[in-house]
């Protein structure tokens, strides 16, 4: 082993040093202009990759094809049920992970069984991948997994052009480990520059032979249902077993960099493009409004960030769950309301049965501990 001791490194024709070294502290000042072709910041295409944001306050059985913690969708076959939740069991440097707890003790894996976590990415966030062109770039998926069974797990990357690339990682102990998978460049199948899903990442935790008997592994090709999880052997089919994941990063690079931590506020704002939990619980402000007609009440909601699409209103319903106060009254109650004139920045909440008076303003609040108002423009 050898060691070079210098106090600066300068280009042959340069007037100033590219790297200036502090002789006493061992630190340096470097003038970097390129990070091996990768971005210095905002490298991670995955939002909520460390599972800190849980606006739905989700914990429990999600059901097939439903969102759990923000941005992460869970899907499974009929007899492969897991409880999904936010966990504090993490590797060093993380606060949260997602936990999948097997709650269907079927003990074996049928040919058609499957369960996976899925992440969708908008096309307009993938244009730097240059997929489908001669300039296509490889990208690297890295993540931490802890599981109390060992064996090989599958992931698959699928695009909207019915193309896919699968890969595997092998869990050899029950500790937290970081796994790194580089996905080769694909010069076929361009991704549209739009606000729709163009690429999806799947993390399999159960895959029967109908999903894992194909031959293609770790190469781009036409979608094949039997190849989405080729090589997957570590099926979690006992209620004794859990699977945890955190630190998910997808970056345009042929190697992995350390996980890019963002502030909670940044991560929440990124999540709110797809889902915005406005309020839940009793006597919480929803918004201000007015009576357009005798029974027609409109309240206005402004979203904290521009949403991906005009969102759906996701509202719990029940007798007198919501109340509109107007003109010093004790309030008019309503069970629900409807979204109206929604765009990606604002919407109205409309109720046709309020008891308000034309032209008067009002305050819309929750009126039950189970009341909840959210907006979804998920992929």
């Amino acid at each position: 082993m050898s060691e070079i001791k210098v106090n600066s490194i300068k280009g042959v024709s340069a007037s100033t040093a590219a790297i200036s070294i502090d002789n006493s502290s061992g630190t340096c000042t470097a003038k970097l202009t390129d990070n091996g072709g990768n971005q210095f910041a905002n490298r991670n295409k995955i939002i909520n990759g460390e599972f800190r944001v849980n606006q739905r306050n989700h914990s429990g059985s999600a059901g097939h094809n439903t969102y759990t913690l923000d941005r992460w969708k869970y899907a499974r076959s009929a007899n492969s049920e897991f409880s999904t939740s936010q966990s504090t069991d993490t590797p060093d440097g993380f606060a949260n992970s997602i936990k999948l707890d097997c709650i269907s003790a079927n003990g074996s894996t049928g040919a058609g069984d499957y369960a996976y976590l899925r992440y969708h990415i908008e096309g307009q966030d993938l244009q730097d991948l240059s997929k489908g062109t001669s300039a296509a770039k490889a990208f690297t998926l890295s993540f931490y997994v802890k599981c109390d069974i060992t064996g090989t797990f599958a992931i698959s990357i699928e695009d909207v052009n019915s193309r896919m690339c699968n890969a595997t990682y092998t869990v050899s102990n029950t500790n937290w480990n970081r796994y790194i998978i580089t996905i080769p460049a694909d010069t076929t199948g361009a991704l549209a520059n739009n606000n729709l899903t163009q690429l999806s990442v799947h993390f399999y935790i159960i895959a029967g032979s109908s999903h894992s008997s194909g031959s293609a592994v770790h190469t781009w090709g036409a979608y094949s249902a039997s190849s989405v999880a080729t090589g997957h052997t570590a099926n979690i089919v006992s209620t004794d077993h859990n699977w945890y994941m955190t630190g998910v990063q997808l970056e345009i690079s042929d190697y992995a960099t350390p996980f890019e931590h963002r502030s909670y506020g940044q991560e929440l704002a990124l999540c709110q493009r797809y889902y915005f939990h406005l309020v839940s619980g009793n006597d919480k402000l929803i918004g201000l409004g007015m009576n357009y007609g005798n029974p027609d009440f409109f309240a206005e909601v402004t979203f904290p960030v521009t949403m991906r699409a005009a969102p759906s209103l996701d509202i719990t319903t029940g007798t007198n769950y919501y109340r509109m106060y107007q003109a010093n009254s004790s309030g008019d109650d309503m069970d629900s309301f409807v979204i109206s004139r929604a765009n990606t920045n604002k919407c109205n909440l409309y109720d046709s049965g309020s008891g308000g008076s034309i032209g008067k303003g009002g305050v819309l609040v929750t009126n039950n501990a189970s009341a909840s108002v959210a907006f979804s423009s998920e992929l």
Partner: protein
Amino acid sequence: MTFIKYKLFKDALTSEVNVVNKIYSDHTLSIPFDPANTDYQEYLEWAKTNTAEEAD
């Protein structure tokens, strides 16, 4: 969480049908007619073989 029905809604100002409610036993998804909204896309698939309740 039991799915009950889809029900169409008219805009109160224009009377144009531009929202469909997906009604469950304990909550409702109120879905605007935006082609990029995945709930709306799901409704359109459902409507190929089913019929939503008419707007009032």
